[in-house]
């Protein structure tokens, strides 16, 4: 692994994703973005609906092939050799649930074997204990509450002790208490493992609390980046939510795109 790969868990250069064809109408979901994510950092990926966050994460995971540009994760080219990186990373999203009819134990066991773990049973029980899931292990995953499902998804994402964790809105639709519990758990995991976390979130308090660095996306482009405190200072705001609104509404350039225009752009990208 070269020095660059050691410093950067993620390196993206002029990454572009277009859907559709010239005849049926092309939509550019991600438009030539370049960024790096430092190893061991927690980086927030922010942007309104249709800004290109999920498309970017899908390309980082190798689930989606870019139209052009390069994606390097843990020093591995994700377009050509993603299987060299996948055992060292993991992903969690409340929008991609685990199979409902399998019990929590069955789901985690299957994924434990897929990640090639030694001692799958022990690891499943260890994670269940850490995430307070022991009494739900024999319950079907589909019958759990939103908070329990999020903890199960997190258990799946931590099975292989990933060096890189990609989280898509990890606390969406959770009550404040459960959300705080999840954040604390993730902070502790990062501290203990030195893992890198890339976090897509709409919760600005979460981003302020957890992230060292923030990437702001709008209409497929990275329009700003910096630490939460740096962004607050640059935009002269007291909350990241106001910074988000400034960027989403393009107020920094003295413009305020109409809501209809924004909606149209978001719909097109989705």
């Amino acid at each position: 692994m070269d020095q660059c790969a050691k410093q950067h868990a993620i390196r993206v250069e002029t990454l572009t994703k277009r859907y559709g064809t010239a005849r049926s109408g092309e939509v550019t979901a991600v438009d030539g973005i370049s960024f790096t994510v430092a190893a061991g950092s927690v980086t927030g990926l922010l942007g309104g609906n249709g800004a290109g966050k999920t498309t970017t994460i899908s390309m980082l995971l190798g689930l989606l092939l870019p139209t052009s540009g390069t994606v390097e994760v843990l020093g591995v080219d994700m377009v050509r050799h993603r299987h060299a990186a996948l055992p060292r990373m993991n992903f969690s999203s409340p929008y991609v649930e685990l199979p409902h009819r399998l019990t929590v134990r069955e789901n985690l066991t299957v994924y434990g074997h897929l990640y090639g773990l030694k001692g799958v049973k022990r690891r499943v029980e260890e994670l269940a204990e850490h995430l307070e899931l022991t009494r739900f292990l024999e319950r079907p995953s589909g019958g759990l509450s939103a908070g329990q499902k999020t903890r199960v998804a997190l258990a799946k994402a931590l099975l292989n002790r990933p060096e890189l964790l990609l989280l898509d809105e990890p606390t969406a639709s959770l009550d404040p208490d459960t959300a705080d519990w999840i954040r604390t758990y993730l902070e502790r995991y990062r501290l203990e493992s030195g893992a890198t976390i890339l976090l897509a979130s709409h919760n600005m308090l979460e981003v302020e609390r957890m992230c060292d660095d923030v990437l702001m996306m709008r209409q497929g482009r990275i329009v700003d980046r910096g630490s939460p405190s740096g962004l607050l200072a640059r935009y002269g705001r007291t909350s990241l939510e106001d910074v988000f609104l400034d960027i989403a509404r393009d107020r920094a350039n003295g413009e305020d795109a109409s809501r209809d225009d924004r909606r149209e752009a978001a719909d097109a990208a989705e």
Partner: protein
């Protein structure tokens, strides 16, 4: 725990891992054992078919010299036909389980490779076929005094060729659903029946019109059923039919694998792996 410690806790990551294939078979087995109606359904249909055709066979044997010559020809035909049908359905239904649960996104951010997944679909198809067809074949012995196993060693060849052809059809259906989404789900239940008339399951290929005979003989299934009748009527093993079935199966499997891989690649281009589902 540092990542270097974590690396010591996992097995090596080979290009093709039987461990991952086993994990996926386990996933489908968990699904199956978790629902006794599904388990029962596997054996129910082949058994009903066998009973129905068993009585037709008995009746026809008393009124048709052709059927009378080959003991249990219709029962053998329906049971072997079910091997093809269950083989295809085993691949398609296991795949559909992933679509229904929108699980493809999770599966393909894990180290699972498409080839390992396909191997698991085939493995599960074999298990489902055995669970479905073997009880019906065993029940035919006391009910009609006919044992499919009397076909002897060639039965293994017939079984292998039919299930492999079923897997090829299953792969094409997977490819079509990956390409066209759940709108193509219905194909999983009907495609194989399009081939039934030209597979010459219950009658010889020679009864078909000349041009249709060529179509029939381009399918491995027609060669298997011709081979089966040769044993039952003449007591001879037609190696030529078996060789044709093997050769055609290799061709179909190659084509269908190419269609699946192309479709899987296109799903990665379109982002369908994360989004596709009900």
């Amino acid at each position: 725990m540092l990542p270097s410690d974590a690396a010591a806790m996992v097995h090596p990551n080979p290009a093709f891992s039987l461990r991952r294939v086993g994990a996926m078979v386990l996933r489908y087995w968990y699904l199956l054992r978790g629902s006794w109606p599904r388990f029962l359904e596997l054996a129910y249909w082949p058994t009903m078919q066998m009973i129905l055709w068993g009585y037709i066979n008995q009746f026809m044997a008393s009124s048709s010299a052709w059927v009378a010559q080959g003991a249990g020809v219709l029962v053998s035909a329906v049971l072997l036909w079910d091997v093809l049908f269950r083989g295809q359905l085993g691949v398609s239904v296991s795949f559909l389980e992933e679509m229904w649960s929108r699980n493809l996104g999770h599966l393909f951010v894990s180290p699972l490779r498409p080839g390992e997944w396909v191997a698991a679909l085939f493995g599960m198809s074999l298990i489902r076929t055995v669970i479905g067809v073997v009880p019906a074949a065993l029940l035919a012995i006391p009910l009609f005094g006919y044992s499919l196993f009397d076909l002897g060693l060639p039965l293994a060849g017939f079984f292998a060729n039919l299930i492999v052809f079923g897997w090829s059809l299953g792969l094409v259906i997977v490819a079509l659903i990956l390409r066209y989404g759940m709108g193509a789900e219905g194909l999983a239940w009907i495609v194989v029946f399009m081939l039934a008339p030209v597979s010459a399951v219950y009658y010889p290929v020679s009864v078909l019109p000349g041009w249709l005979q060529w179509v029939a003989l381009s399918l491995p299934s027609a060669h298997v059923f011709e081979g089966m009748r040769a044993i039952l009527f003449d007591g001879t093993m037609r190696w030529d039919h078996l060789a044709w079935a093997v050769g055609l199966n290799a061709l179909f499997m190659g084509l269908c694998t190419a269609a699946f891989l192309y479709s899987f690649h296109q799903a990665r281009v379109r982002g369908a792996l994360l989004q596709t589902g009900e």
